[in-house]
Amino acid sequence: MTHGIVLASGMAAETQALAFWILAVIAVAAALAMVLAPRAVHCAVLLAIVMLSLAVLYALLGAPFLAFVQVIVYTGAVLMLFLFVLMIVGVSSRDSLVETIRGQRLAAALVGIGLLVLLSLIIGHAAIGPAAPAGPDYGASNVQGIATLIFTTYVFPFEVTSALLITAALGAMVLAHQERLGPKPTQRQLSRLRIASGRSAPLPGPGTYARHNAVDMPALLPDGSQSELSVSPVISGRPDPRLSELGAARPADPQAPGGVLPPDSDRSEVAGGDSEHEGARW
């Protein structure tokens, strides 16, 4: 915790001011970009930048415990949860740029400006004094000070917090639980379905070449065309410039399968309609 002391009291005022202005600019820019970025994944990454700069700002304010909690809980746990849900919902999901309510963005901007003016006036009228002299609470004994407060003055809210956490965990399990609507298909039924689908053999694996060896490279059929079935539809949905390198004799179009391919045998159909893979197209 010696860093806490350094950040709270030992650091020169100019250094502190420089750090504040750099971090403030980074945080505001990342927050604005988060609101404006169309893709949800970019929003998550930009939010991580905001949260990390806030953690350093906490350290500047002499709260090393909160700085670490911010990194561990927010950037570590909460944002990872966001990213997990984004993977389920689909990484490529983006907001539609069509306004569903007419004039909504203009109204939102006006509300934002109004809120900013209102809060600025309140802050301007409030008497926010200078920082109190940095005592030991802002450095070496920050953790001890917070622990003393939590386990004396705030012991009841602290206990209520534990009940809240248990309830939240239980609620998440109940809400995310998926009820099985039909009976689970047996192995016999699955094999019958497989035979009935007309494709009894497993799907072809991806191509292995001298220069490329990855799941997104299609296998080449005996006539030199690319096997559409060898690449998962989740991956093949993305345009890949490397695909044009392969099979240069014929136009590389993943949407136009070669003559030997059965045109309608979709891979996701054979795989039983995996919900995650379907979702990734959204």
Binding site: A63, V73, G112, G129, T161
Partner: protein, 100 residues
């Protein structure tokens, strides 16, 4: 010299940006992220006021806000996944079953 007022001003700006994000965005996950941004801004104000007052109560409150925000995110994202499973969409425009 940076005073707590600077930190509070930064918190106000971040709070407003988060509020505009909640109003503008259509993807429910991004709306959630904007709510998190607002909570973080309030935390920053709490810590700044704690620094101004010279005691640790503000930091303890910010700690509690973090705990409640974590619980809220867990439940909210579970609701989002179940809505997504039913509707195949994370847009708030598509969850209109209760709309009159």
């Amino acid at each position: 010299m940076v005073s707590p007022a600077h930190f509070v001003a930064l918190a106000v700006i971040l709070f407003v940006i988060g509020g505009v994000g909640v109003l503008v965005r259509r993807n429910a996950i991004v709306i959630f992220m904007s709510v998190e941004l607002m909570l973080n801004a309030v935390n920053l104000a709490f810590v700044a006021f704690s620094r101004m007052r010279g005691n640790l109560d503000g930091q303890v409150i910010a700690f509690f806000v973090m705990v409640v925000a974590a619980a809220e995110v867990v439940v909210g994202l579970a609701i989002l996944t179940s809505i997504f499973r039913a509707r195949r969409s994370a847009s708030v425009d598509d969850a209109n079953l209760l709309k009159y």
